[in-house]
Symmetry: C2
Subunit: 560 residues, 2 copies
């Protein structure tokens, strides 16, 4: 036993926790209406692991011996279950393939180093054997960064950082903490809050993703407007490469040429294994509130969000859902929670009388943190902007509910798969001047893809992560794939249409999910062919033998 | 005539503008006291250009022909004066060498492309001829990035971007502007403010440095606490490389792997020639105030600055001088300005009675921007912190004066050289927890170097650019070199001691002046040998022939 717990081999989160609709009375009619699926019909539960045919490990004895010498025999695992857990992330294609037992290439061993010395020994052993090394954090990746290339003939070793989960040091004077890369979100916040600190980084994946994974994929959290994206939060780090360690000391800012820190950020394992990270940490705020607002339209909501982003106010969370996502949120409320049945009915009746078209209403959450006077001033400043755009304050009740439920969303992917539907996400960022076009283009592209497939699809969106010059748009889509046609082909038809629309409208291939293999086909369109050359040159110079997570980041035709 | 104006060949700024002490009655006694130099003694004016022996250009005819074809014959300049202007930056060693006529290697031609097409033609011609290309903006560099390697046998072409000085486009909706890389600070702000916008980037060098230079060296401005360092301000760019152009579209944030944008930032010409940059721009603030404060000690000042940086307030400028720099500021006031003679005397008398040791007082400037209510709230929040640390508000008068004089400092280097003294700067950044040690270590290191040389030296410092986890410390030092010993050897004794102290105390080799050749010896100590390997690999992959500004960024023993 390694002592490291993993997510379900077939889905998100841990055994025993799942998304249910029985306590959400409006959900079944909503799903029937939007994608024509009957939630009361019997679903297809995930398969039994005993029915899965797992290829035997192909670990050369010498490499196995070297790995056992590196981390101890108990930390070199060749079990089928552990190897399958380390084969995929949790994107829709990952889940479809693993439920199918589609396992063309499974890691041949999973190793669990306990410290950086052991990571060094593992990296050196793998490279000496000309094998392949894939770093693994919480396994929450949804862009295909964790899967061995199907045709990889060399041994593949998954390096699970799960034992390296400690906050090693807090520099209280500087507001910095040194934390091991394998620490999950709760590991980090539990250790920090016990001492009065927070890192403030809250991606959807928080419970099942690690600091190293956040750095390796350029993660963002829900509170990034205040705390920054992981690229801002990361002030120093250690990265193990074959025979050496890149050491970047914690610095608030520096002028040391091309930023090696910003090369490690987003490197998805291709430059080495991150072992520890110096991050900004903050004293727990005296006050913290999330307030819900309602706007009469998406256009008004976008205008208000932009105005807030350039105002003197500095909220910690800025999020607004489009009408579809607003309807979804209302339909997935528990009977007794949220806006409440009667309260909501009453409010909506009042709004209707005022001339609102409630099918166009957009639900927004804005977060405030700081001392009482600051929170009051910020709320007043934001409230003024909200009202100027016809918006309405709903209060802290729905905001608190959002705050409690915020990490539950990824479970819905499995819930939909059980009932025979696909659900997945694509997110992007673009300048404010492009956002409407990005939004409309993406919705149109998804609808065209649904039409091409002949399926009843649904796409919804929220804006989050506001910057001076633009924002992130986060799309969620769902549809029931047709029978008789390969379901992954159908998925890629939709996903490709959305990604292509991003690039066609001036947006990026991803704001915070990384490149992986799924988004790599759009890399050249995003950073230009010459920019891709720069990246290829960098990766190749560090890893000429393609031992470090080969196949991720670059489009297939650019792998050397 | 190319139409591009340059700084003096022998010093900072343009002909006719210089630093004087005659209108600053306290300065001569101050300088006599601190470095034993008599300002009334006759100085040594800069040499006559006619006395300078300039090596003839070694431009192969074919390359000359290709360059003339690329930019037009009138934009290929082989004049001695123009070539000398493009030989050095404006650091102390640059000025000493150029005044001496020490010109071991002068560019063989200066070319002035008018647009990106011409830049591409120049880059291709230079690389095809296996010559060397050095991009040139305003020539304000002070870390040795602009000087051809002394032993360079290949032709050297300086590419002056001075004709490319336009704001090409303002995206008012997104708060972005597309600006040519050769635009100087005033070019940019004049074009922006005419339309109600500002970029807010104000380095000391503002009048004589360019956008491309800022990006290539990771510049910071005095208002970076609000507007960000240039790395934050830069949202997209175009970079000409041999045979191609890296195009990074403007994006508020992105998750496209290792950041190519952050590789171009700080690249000092080694990855190509930056031709245009998308930057964040802001509406001119409704109100703008800079307020001066006085603290009873450096310790109290540092504590207050740190508290301000983690408070809910967001000032635009945060700066505080140590007691030496405070004394220097008071000594260089014009008789009728600043705190004023009588007013200051009265104030100081009151403070003395309150128990202040005025030799330990520290002068601070804090800037506020925004709507009236916001400025009022920020001032109240900061004022409370200042008072809690024993500080005193002096008001807007001295703040306004600082704002007017803020770009004049670099002229002092020439003023001191004229009277036979050296003056230069070294700046760094470190976590708050290290700042006292960095400060004390640096002062001690400089004093030890002065003692070793047997000179009467002076070192002063200010803190600027506050971040969550740390700040920049900016040191200025001066001393009269001894006769009979090479004066550059003496300079390097002091400069090396300061830089080594930075690295020994956990600070970086530079916060915003770049690496160049002067700081390159500390690169491995800063980003680790393995981090340096990553950088070497990147540069080598882009420029295997070492045609692009070779010799900068990397320590000599790491050039390939």
């Amino acid at each position: 036993m390694t002592g490291v717990t993993h997510q379900k081999w077939w889905g998100w989160g841990v055994e025993g926790i799942a998304f249910h609709h029985q306590d959400k009375p409006k959900m079944a009619p909503f799903v029937m209406d939007k994608i024509g699926i009957d939630l009361s019909a019997p679903g297809t539960p995930p398969p039994d692991f005993a029915d899965i045919d797992v290829p035997a490990p192909r670990l050369e004895p010498a490499l196995g011996e070297a790995l056992r010498a590196a981390v101890g025999p108990e930390h070199v695992v060749l079990d089928d279950l552990d190897r399958v857990v380390h084969t995929y992330g949790k994107g829709l294609p990952d889940l479809v393939r693993v439920r199918r037992g589609d396992l063309p290439r499974v890691p041949d061993a999973v190793v669990y180093p306990a410290d950086e010395e052991q990571v060094r020994a593992v990296v050196d052993a793998v490279v000496a054997a000309d094998a392949v090394l894939i770093p693994f954090g919480g396994g929450s990746n949804i862009s295909g960064s964790l899967t061995p290339p199907p045709g990889e003939e060399r041994p593949v070793v998954s390096v699970d950082l799960g034992l390296m989960n400690k906050v090693l040091e807090i520099d209280a004077d500087a507001g910095l903490a040194r934390i091991q890369a394998g620490a999950l979100g709760p590991d980090i916040e539990d250790q920090l809050t016990a001492r009065g600190w927070t890192m403030g980084h809250q991606p959807d994946s928080f419970r099942h993703s690690t600091l190293g994974g956040w750095v390796a994929t350029r993660s963002s959290g829900m509170q990034s407007d205040k705390y920054g994206d992981i690229a801002d939060i990361t002030r120093g780090l250690r990265l193990v490469q074959p025979g050496k360690v890149v050491v970047l000391r914690p610095l608030p800012s520096t002028s040391t040429g091309p930023s090696v820190r910003e090369m490690v950020l987003g490197s998805e394992g291709r430059l080495g294994v991150i072992t520890e990270v110096w991050v900004n940490v903050h004293r727990l705020p005296a006050n913290r509130e999330i307030i819900a607002y309602l706007y009469p339209s998406w256009g008004a909501a976008l205008e208000a969000m932009q105005e807030i982003s350039t105002a003197d106010a500095h909220p910690s969370v800025t999020r607004v859902s489009d009408p579809n996502e607003t309807a979804f949120s209302l339909a997935t409320q528990k009977a007794s929670k949220g806006l409440g049945g009667k309260l909501q009915a009453g409010l909506f009746e009042v709004l209707r009388r005022r001339g609102w078209d409630l099918d166009k209403a957009c639900l927004s959450y804005i977060g405030y943190e700081g001392d009482a006077a600051h929170v009051r001033a910020e709320k007043a400043a934001v409230g003024k902007i909200v009202r100027a755009h016809g918006g309405l304050k709903l209060g802290t009740g729905p905001g608190a509910l959002y705050d409690q439920k915020k990490f539950d969303t990824p479970y819905i992917r499995d819930f939909l798969l059980d009932i025979g539907a696909h659900g997945d996400v694509s997110e992007t960022a673009a300048p404010w001047s492009r956002l409407r076009e990005v939004y409309q283009g993406t919705v149109r592209a998804a609808q065209a893809a649904f039409a091409e497939l002949g399926v009843q699809g649904f796409i919804m969106c929220h804006l989050s992560h506001s910057y001076h010059s633009g924002a992130c748009l986060y799309f969620t889509f769902a549809y029931p794939p047709r029978e008789g046609v390969d379901e992954l082909d159908q998925y890629w038809t939709v996903k490709r249409a959305i990604q292509q629309s991003f690039l066609d409208t001036g947006a990026t291939l991803s704001h915070h999910h990384g490149v992986g293999t799924d988004h790599a086909p759009w890399l050249e369109a995003d950073i230009s062919p010459a920019g891709t050359d720069v990246m290829v040159g960098l990766l190749r110079s560090v890893d000429p033998g393609r031992n470090l997570n080969p196949g991720t980041l670059l489009p297939a035709h650019r792998e050397w």
